[in-house]
């Protein structure tokens, strides 16, 4: 049973476009929401994380939007570049020992 639902499964954008990845959760005990980027053959790399007392957080070209009442959060990649082509995972944690991951979104940025 997936505790974090992620969509879409894949998306393709042109260079400079803004891919948007959405995640939803049900467990209201979740209070930490990180995003990871994974390239083929590599481990996931922590990109950016948010807590539910903040509605938006930016780090470089990556922005997380958080809607606590809807129990949804999303990742926007501004001015996307071909080097951003990777699989992105949202995750959630409730101050315990484990991260619950979404199924992943494969992003392709075409030059």
């Amino acid at each position: 049973q997936q505790q974090v639902k992620q969509s879409p499964q894949s998306l393709i954008v042109q260079k400079g476009g803004i891919p948007i990845i959405n995640c939803a959760y049900e467990n209201t005990a979740f209070d930490y929401f990180p995003w990871y980027q994974q390239f083929p053959g590599k481990g996931p790399a922590l990109l950016i994380a948010i807590r539910p007392d903040v509605s938006e957080k930016k780090e470089g070209r990556f922005t997380i939007s958080f809607n606590k009442s809807a129990k949804q959060f999303s990742l926007h990649i501004m001015d996307s570049q071909p080097g951003d082509s990777a699989t992105y995972f949202c995750a959630a944690n409730s101050n315990d020992y484990k991260l619950s991951f979404g199924a992943g979104t494969t992003v392709t940025v075409r030059a």
Partner: protein, 111 residues
């Protein structure tokens, strides 16, 4: 500073065999978590250890076991391997915060 290291990078085992995977956390990190990532899916939590004690265990059979050593490195052991155990096994380390940093993984193929 070196990141999380894992060994071996790849290995191939036969059904019924046993395997040991190793992980060294980032210097100063006392917590190590293990995740299984099946191709095309998000990582699934297996174990977390903190200060050599097991803090949590995911929904995996007793064939999976782990331990943490005084230097905070860790081993994941899997007995009686099944074809379905073929996956990328990821180790993540963390300090006092929620942030978990992943290693490159060990690709296990069971034939």
């Amino acid at each position: 500073d070196a990141g999380v290291t894992q060994s071996p990078t790849h290995l191939i085992k036969t059904r019924g065999q046993h395997v040991t995977l190793r992980c060294s956390p980032i210097s100063g990190h006392k917590s190590v978590s293990w995740y299984q990532q099946v191709l095309g899916q998000g990582p699934q939590f297996i174990f977390q250890y903190y200060e050599k004690e097991e803090r949590g265990r995911g929904n995996f059979p007793d064939r999976f076991s782990a331990r943490q050593f005084p230097n905070y490195s860790s081993e994941l052991n899997v007995n009686a391997l099944l074809l379905g155990d073929s996956a990328l096994y990821l180790c993540a380390s963390s300090a006092f915060s929620r942030e978990q940093y992943f290693g490159p993984g060990t690709r296990l193929t069971v034939t």
